[in-house]
């Protein structure tokens, strides 16, 4: 079903409500109205055209937690160019790998510190010029890079139509509208934070950018000062905020209309606690992937008896469980969780990743194991792919193992997920010393600094004599988990 493009709706909001506040930066109170937003998009667009960016071209840019990224991201969408948002904290090595895969015509990095990158400054001059939207629903809009199970980054290609469907899907469930003011303390490079930008600007609402949850006093002042009605954060951020502020979020029980938590394991008691602190608020959590944003939603109050589940299929998504050979399974039977619908991405950038990405009928394979009950609630039971979910960030064990094996004294390495009360899961590393070597775990962790991102860094490093392997030589990760 054709839907209004995300960028078309944002620009309509800019035209219809130019004086309304679109963005607030809580660190200094700086605001941007919808009218100003349009001018920044227009100016960025002109500068991008001058830099020879054309419809269909790919542009990499670091998604710093600031307005500038948003202006450039929207300008690229308006031109029909493809945005490749990147984590500002990514390593130089990963940047280069992604660059090779993405094939960008331009790399924008705030301070031009990455190889062959251009700084943001020349692209941020507002211009009061009207322009036509060049994008159509079949055009590629974003490429989001995630970690693949082989350690090579995978480019998740999202079309304009996929993004329009995802925005509608989320806003339909949450029920947020133009009167809402949402505070987002999450990184904008992650699909969760990026989706919150889209959902708020599409609705004509106001988005407050808050820099993390580690300054609770500041965050609560922002909730108060900007009359915030919505809050979005990952489960780990709620756990941290809870540790730093106790029950204080309850003081906003009559002001917050909704709180959306991101997709990562969270104990049922943490969900119940949030719902009890905010009895009049829609408190919910989603299950999803970059490939299928918000496949399921769990409403902590309406679904209070099913808090161990990840909820039911979201409005524009269908969930089914499949056997390994592609047979759809009945309720109560365990198998691979598969999703289909307009919110599901059309495919990866690299063909090698597409071969086993879908089952017939357009069902995307999530790599998660689970079962649906007779009422459609999805319970996750494990994972087929060996990814580790650290507070919503997917970590490939192969990426970490490669770095570990490059450390002096390390013969072999294997990583598995370990339960973590804060992060949901953390990385646990097992290493086999090289011959005649006695590697020191703390020295290894120090050596990994700057080579891995914080969430990829193992929480524990255990030395073992040999890695358990199958007859064919495959590492038995389940056996390693039992040794944690």
């Amino acid at each position: 079903m054709p839907r209004e493009l995300f960028i078309a709706k944002v620009l309509k909001n800019c035209a219809n409500k130019p004086d309304k506040t679109a963005l607030i930066r809580s660190d200094d109170g700086l605001t941007v109205s919808y009218g100003e937003l349009k001018n920044y998009i227009s100016g960025a667009r002109e500068a991008l055209i001058k830099a020879n960016v054309r419809k269909g071209d790919r542009v990499m840019l670091n998604a710093a937690h600031d307005f500038n990224f948003i202006f450039l991201y929207l300008a690229l969408h308006s031109m029909g160019a493809v945005a490749v948002p990147l984590d500002p904290g990514m390593t130089r090595e990963r940047y280069l790998t992604v660059k090779e895969s993405a094939g960008p015509v331009l790399c924008l990095w705030s301070d031009a510190s990455m190889p062959d990158s251009v700084g943001y400054d020349a692209f941020l001059n507002p211009a009061d010029e009207d322009f036509e939207i060049a994008a159509t629903e079949d055009d590629l809009a974003d490429i989001m890079f995630t970690s693949g199970t082989t350690g090579k980054p995978k480019g998740v290609a999202l079309k304009q139509a996929t993004i329009a469907a995802a925005v509608n899907n989320i806003n339909m469930f949450i029920g947020n509208g133009e009167d809402d003011i949402e505070l987002c303390p999450m990184p904008l490079s992650h699909s969760f934070g990026l989706a919150r930008i889209r959902c708020n600007l599409y609705a004509g609402a106001t988005l407050v950018l808050e820099n993390g949850v580690s300054r609770p006093k500041h965050l609560f002042q922002s909730l108060d000062a900007y009359n915030v009605t919505g809050l979005s954060m990952v489960g780990a951020a709620w756990t941290i905020l809870s540790r730093l502020s106790g029950d204080k979020l309850g003081n906003f029980a009559n002001r917050l209309k909704y709180v959306e938590l991101g997709s990562a394991p969270l104990p049922p008691e943490s969900k119940a606690r949030l719902a009890s602190l905010l009895p009049n608020t829609k408190t919910c959590m989603h299950y999803g992937l970059t490939e299928a944003s918000r496949a399921a939603f769990l409403d902590f109050r309406a679904d209070s008896e099913r808090l161990e589940s990840v909820g039911r299929a979201s409005p524009l998504c269908e969930i089914a469980i499949f056997s390994p050979d592609g047979e759809k399974l009945a309720a109560g039977e365990e198998g691979e969780v598969c999703v289909r619908g307009d919110i599901v991405f059309p495919g990866y950038l690299e063909d090698e990743h597409n071969r086993e990405a879908f089952f017939p009928g357009g069902y995307m394979r999530t790599g998660d194991l689970g079962l649906l009950d007779e009422n459609g609630y999805l319970r996750l039971t494990g994972r087929i792919k060996e990814m580790i979910n650290v507070a919503g960030e997917k970590v490939s064990p192969y990426d970490v193992e490669r770095e570990l094996e490059a450390c002096p004294g390390v013969g072999e390495a294997a990583c598995v997920a370990m339960p973590d009360p804060l992060l949901g899961e953390a990385v646990a590393a097992f290493i086999v010393p090289a011959e005649d070597a006695s590697p020191d775990p703390s020295a290894i962790l120090s050596a990994l600094k700057n080579r891995l991102q914080t969430y990829q860094t193992p929480k524990i490093v255990k030395i073992i004599e040999r890695l358990p392997r199958t007859v064919s030589g495959k590492i038995q990760r389940a056996a390693l988990k039992e040794r944690l």
Binding site: S214, P216, G246
Partner: protein, 78 residues
């Protein structure tokens, strides 16, 4: 705070974030280095509680944003 405890605190901060103790100051705050993000903040709190054998309550932690704030907190606790 006496010099010994100050040095000890700065040492804990340096060890937590894997930085040179000479770069730690009372003005250093959440977000001033990439390692001091939300997770780093929680890690620092645990490391300080363990090193000084104290337990901070929520009302105390609510206000803390800098190394200097931790110094004030410890002054009350020790």
């Amino acid at each position: 705070m006496d010099d010994a405890n100050k040095e000890k605190l700065f040492g804990v901060v340096a060890a937590t974030f894997e930085i040179d103790p000479a770069t730690v100051s009372a003005d250093m705050a959440v977000g001033s280095i990439p390692q001091w993000d939300s997770l780093g903040h929680l890690g620092l709190i645990s490391a300080i509680e363990e090193a000084f054998e104290v337990s901070f309550d929520v009302d105390e932690l609510f206000e803390v944003e800098t190394v200097g704030d931790f110094m004030e907190l410890l002054d009350k606790e020790l």
